[in-house]
Subunit: 150 residues, 2 copies
DNA sequence: CTAATATCAGGACAACTGATATAT
DNA sequence: CATATATCAGTTTTCCTGATATTA
């Protein structure tokens, strides 16, 4: 009686899938647990750093950039506004939009975050990777993006 | 008045950090939204597939393998037991342990999950990657693991 | 007595859906 | 009228912490 044939390659792919499953899960949790430090949630840090590097934006634009619904960024932004880290003003050119920009206090906060390498991902990239490995990582981005493509 | 010096390499690393931030976030969400299909949550699928490939286990061992707390797997397992997909029996050799194994119904369920390529990660690995690219991905695992190391 | 295992109870985080108001 | 933007309210998912009982 013959065993059902399962190629070695298929078995290896299942193993890879399993490793990726654990890796991706661990990544989410690791990222989430970073949130407790420096008093800002991860979405808040992401928004703050994005406003710093790309300038003023809107709820909808931020949502598109982060790949989430506007309502989700809305909550994030509400927290940042309450903390006085970002300021909102109506867009003179389009009355539907509310332009969001970093407040002065936040600029310093972002500088500190970066200078002290408190930005978790940046810190790891600097401390645990050689320039060449960062290059490898950049190359792997294309592959990883296939997991989130529609 | 001189500009403050920020090397091009540092700017590139910040960009890489930002891309990774978005990628990792999108990955978590993509994985989460897969849960709605085939009636099992992701943790449930992970546990089921692990019990299938590695045989009977315990709550604590599963928690270690998945990198979460035993209480988290406990909830997952409770759901699977309620659905009749796994069975529990006291370990004769160690009274503290409860051995978990797939129920008969679940074996078929897992077979179906796999045969039909309903396992999301496996499906993507098979359909969107060449064998050579899967090899590249395996190589990148080492790099990615650095993000979750203590 | 200390360590490991399992489980109960409650809470936090970050996304979601649906509905609504306003401006283009 | 159809589309885009912002926001209110409530829900879901998945993990967490803390406490407790049992066995090694």
């Amino acid at each position: 009686m013959r065993e059902q044939t399962v190629s070695a390659a298929t078995v290896q792919t299942h193993e890879l899938a399993s490793q990726l499953r654990v890796l991706f899960g661990a990544l989410s949790r690791r990222i989430r647990e970073r949130a407790r430090f420096d008093g800002l949630s991860n979405p808040q840090k992401a928004v703050l750093l994005r406003l710093e590097s790309e300038g003023p934006s809107t709820v909808s634009a931020l949502a598109r950039a982060e790949g989430v619904k506007p309502q989700s960024i809305g909550q994030t932004v509400a927290g940042l506004r309450a903390a006085g880290l970002i300021e909102a003003a109506p867009d003179p050119a389009d009355g539907r939009k509310t332009l969001l920009r970093m407040a002065r206090a936040a600029r310093q906060r972002a500088l500190v975050l970066r200078a002290a390498h408190e930005d978790w991902l940046f810190g790891i990239l600097e401390s645990r990777f050689t320039p060449q490995e960062r290059e490898q990582l950049r190359d792997a981005l294309d592959l990883l993006h296939r997991f989130i493509q529609p």
